[in-house]
Symmetry: D3
Subunit: 135 residues, 6 copies
């Protein structure tokens, strides 16, 4: 149980108290082992490492998810996590804009709509567009 | 018509009698040629080959689909096919868990939810999680 | 404003008058900059280039989108664009069929359903399947 | 043998006389069946279809290959094929440039170097850059 | 050290005695932690699970790797592993042929060349092509 | 010329004085337009934006490149860039380790070898592994 507890600690640093069990309970039966691995490995082994802050990790997670494409539930989750660990809405949205050069426009445009909607749902103020002079 | 019939024979070994025409009828007009190629090539040319059993083929199909990501209709279809050709629910779910090391957690977690739901819909009993001691 | 106007000109050659602003307005706040880059770069810098016709470009866009997979809004948009710039329904559907050899059957079958539905919605007559003798 | 011969006919329309057997001979033993399927399905079933010219098909193939990324031998092969069936070097290179908006810069830049090198090897004159005013 | 030892045990069931340390030593400095996670998680947590045999797991690994594309060192490694845990050369090669319907021909043809070369290097007899009548 | 100069300014903030022209000169003829777009769009439009530091951008670029897989020249380039703009070797290597949960072990292990080799080539001291207690 020790590894799960360590992972749960870091998972809840990102997502809030009591959430790690929820991840496991979203799955049924044998599939709960995969959710448990998600807590133990992703959070217990990886997120717990020094060398990057949780805020840095959340932006890297978003960059990787946007690049893969189509992972709406995870985009929503890590947008919430990023806000919780102190990323600004500008950093979150600029992360999606940054990776367009690698993942192409369709994935980035679909992702930024999902991320913006999640930010709005959280009651976060959306920063205005810079417009052409703003770059 | 001979190649389609050969493919339909193997398609129906996996999915049940009378299903091959249904695959074609899910498409409209010119797109039916692509569905027909799916029956002729995937099932007539590939599934018909000796050297792997249908049960082995269904697990390999699931491994490849989970790795690509996002292909919910095909995940559902091959879960049904896997059960029909004799794969156990444990083998099907462990296949999704196995490929997490290659395709990453978001694709695997989204896929195992879809696969589990399809198994439940089929009335298949879902094996329990092994938990930490069970690995 | 000049680059956006150039991009908007080409965007509207493909999608119809008044549509470029709509693309930007589909996004909120900072995300509008990403939509603006889509107009400026994709249409102002790329679609505006000589050497390929708009009809050629629309088929290439569809080929690339089907290959990536899962990009339903873009598949729908470029199907409309392809018809507007003079591609025939046969060319559009054959483009999806052509790339199955590179992107595999699940992506191609899911995409051709989306493309066919968009063509039907546009009131375009769907060409019949060639059937086996027709290849 | 009839399907292979049909595929070989179309394969050789693209790549030149006597090449279809070469594709099979590049593989050893059981793997030759996969090469044979490539000739039969890709060329006998797909390239043989009316509705798109061979020149259109070669550009679509390049668009799909650049989008997948990393397929250097196939990029080289289809560059040769595209020239043989009458695509201009401008069309071939503009195809790579066109898909950058979907596949991102790293894949497109790596691919255009491979395609340009293959064109140079064929003795084809490389069209000059348009530069900034040329778009 | 206990998790690494458990992973090393299963790693060496697949790759042979003394190999787990070698995986770590292929990396330098901080990167060795990632290799260690590969042993602990992939082999200690995943390969160690009941429900699938090692032979089933090796074929699933190959299916996933071919689908991703371009992972030559891993294709070679899991070909060696598959032979060690008792997969036949026919099963290994048919696995690559099976997934062509999902991952497309270029990835499958490039992979089957790598896999065949590794089998030849191991001194394994390559099964003959079935040819057209053999499907 | 103004957009290229703006892009070149930011490109050279990352890669060093005189490098932007080099990127264009790595390509031949028409392909130079694609390299120019890389400077203008990626660096003039994206890297130039406020909201993320250059150090944040370099780590996000690495996260996206590792996730795509196989882009060795770009991995090497952005490793050099990351060091130039002040990322620590630990941050760079931890970025690769972080994304393994999304992109899988084969891509991450291949990438971290390339990144480590580039760091060694730059004469950067490689931080030691944390080992099991260090997480």
């Amino acid at each position: 149980m020790k590894r799960f507890e360590k992972g749960a600690h870091w998972f809840e640093e990102v997502y809030g108290a009591g959430k790690a069990d929820g991840l496991v309970e979203m799955q049924t039966g044998l599939a709960q082992d995969l959710a448990r691995f998600g807590v133990e490995f992703n959070f217990g082994d990886i997120y717990s490492r020094p060398g990057l802050t949780l805020a840095q990790r959340e932006l890297l997670s978003l960059a990787s998810l946007v690049t893969i494409g189509g992972l709406e539930p995870q985009l929503r989750g890590h947008t919430r996590g990023a806000i919780r660990v102190g990323c600004t809405p500008t950093e979150i949205l600029e992360t999606v804009i940054h990776v367009v050069q690698y993942c192409g426009f369709p994935k980035a445009l679909n992702a930024i709509r999902v991320v913006t909607d999640q930010l709005i749902e959280l009651g976060v103020e959306i920063p205005p567009a810079l417009g052409e002079g703003g770059e």
